[in-house]
């Protein structure tokens, strides 16, 4: 499943190209909204970074089931043999790869344009980004399947997703902030635990309820 989606994405590059351009545009918007004041920019940088990750994630995840719907393959998804949770994991894996690519590039853009010194923070930051991304994608995949068959889905998807993601956003932003100030990973242990707890809850609910959503 993941393989199929990734192959389609690699051939068409439809979503990826759009998302990369979107990240660049976001960077400009952030810059213009905040002005050139370096002090202020540095203090809100973790929030901006995660706002960028979440917004691009919402756009990417919202398209997770578009291929099936537009090409009338929804019924085939339902008829697919085996456990429906495998479809969930496949879609999730595909979205994770896509988000990871976009996030890596966005992080690179931030480093270059906002002159951040990642230095020793990078391994810890990678861990925080991985935990946060799994959380976003786990709920996002579930909700994307839910809203794929609903009218006003482009509107409903972020409306459902964003309030649920508040704990993930708070945890990742606070952890990123501490890490960028060169604090050790142990200083943000409670946030990492919260992110792990969120990931476990979201993944468990996703795995257990995905077949309910695919029923029809």
């Amino acid at each position: 499943m993941a393989w199929k989606d990734l192959v389609i994405e690699r051939r068409s590059k439809e979503t990826l190209n759009a998302l990369l351009f979107f990240s660049l545009a976001l960077l400009f918007v952030f810059q213009f909204a905040l002005g050139p004041d370096r002090e202020r920019l540095a203090s809100v940088l973790p929030g901006l970074l995660w706002l960028g990750f979440i917004l691009s994630g919402v756009l990417g995840l919202g398209r997770a089931f578009v291929v099936e719907r537009e090409n009338d393959c929804w019924e085939l998804l339902l008829l697919a043999p085996g456990d429906k949770s495998a479809i969930y994991l496949g879609k999730l894996a595909g979205s994770l790869v896509l988000m990871a690519v976009v996030e890596a590039l966005m992080l690179g853009l931030f480093v270059v344009f906002f002159n951040i010194d990642l230095g020793a923070a990078l391994p810890g930051l990678a861990l925080v980004i991985a935990l946060g991304t799994v959380g976003i994608a786990a709920v996002g995949t579930l909700f994307a399947a839910m809203t794929a068959q609903v009218r006003a889905r482009e509107l409903l998807f972020p409306v459902l997703l964003l309030p649920v993601l508040v704990p993930v956003l708070l945890g990742t932003v606070k952890a990123t902030e501490a890490l960028l100030l060169q604090e050790p990973l142990a200083a943000v242990a409670h946030w990492l635990k919260l992110l792990v707890a969120a990931d476990v809850v979201y993944l468990a609910v996703g795995l257990l309820t995905f077949d309910v959503i695919l029923e029809g």
Partner: protein
């Protein structure tokens, strides 16, 4: 049965008013404004009680697929959202004279606001899905996610605020509540809980009637 519940709620509400305005003493520093607590605090308890009922009913619906469980989940989450709204509004009215502001991004206020928005989204999803059976399934899943998310929201928001403020400001109130005030609070809690149960029962019946008409 429902009429009895309604009357009980009515009587309890009168008793709650009597306790809140008559029996409970005037608070020394805040004056009469403090009496809003007898609505403010029970409202949030009833709201979380309703969300717990909603979570249970959502799980029950996914397990057994009885339409009744779905209607109960819908009604409970709706009533819970209304009571959370009452809690937020009364909190703002209480906050203005005592703190000097309608709203502050304090940990408790923020977490309640996030939960409120989460359940507003739940009601939006309910309204957006046309097919009844599909809507019930989707709403049950979202109801479970939202309810399980409440503790995560609480912890994250609490750490988010408290790590930045001296703990002396947000230290949980160790002051012991005088028994009269506690009694008034509990009577009002019982009254609002009965009222909430009555609303849920009524709403469940209205939902059933709606389905009958639309079927």
């Amino acid at each position: 049965m429902m009429a009895v519940l309604g009357w009980l709620a009515g009587v309890a509400l009168v008793a709650g008013l009597a306790m809140g305005f008559g029996v409970a003493p005037r608070e020394v520093t805040q004056g009469n404004v403090q009496r809003i607590m007898y609505v403010h605090v029970p409202a949030v308890w009833v709201a979380y009680l309703a969300f717990a009922v909603g979570l249970t009913a959502s799980i029950a619906y996914l397990a057994r697929r009885r339409p009744g469980a779905d209607r109960l989940a819908h009604a409970a989450c709706e009533v819970g959202t209304v009571f959370l709204g009452i809690n937020i509004v009364t909190g703002a009215i209480w906050g203005k004279p005592t703190w000097g502001t309608w709203w502050t991004w304090d940990a408790r206020l923020t977490s309640v606001a996030v939960v409120f928005v989460m359940f507003l989204a739940y009601l939006l999803l309910r309204a957006a899905v046309e097919d009844r059976e599909r809507g019930a399934r989707y709403a049950a899943v979202l109801g479970i996610v939202a309810a399980l998310n409440i503790p995560l929201v609480h912890f994250s928001v609490y750490w988010w605020r408290t790590l930045h403020q001296p703990p002396s400001l947000l230290k949980p109130g160790a002051s012991t509540m005088p028994p009269v005030i506690l009694a008034a609070l509990l009577v009002n809690f019982a009254a609002l809980a009965l009222l909430g149960a009555y609303f849920v029962a009524r709403r469940t019946r209205v939902l059933a009637a709606e389905e009958e008409v639309l079927a």
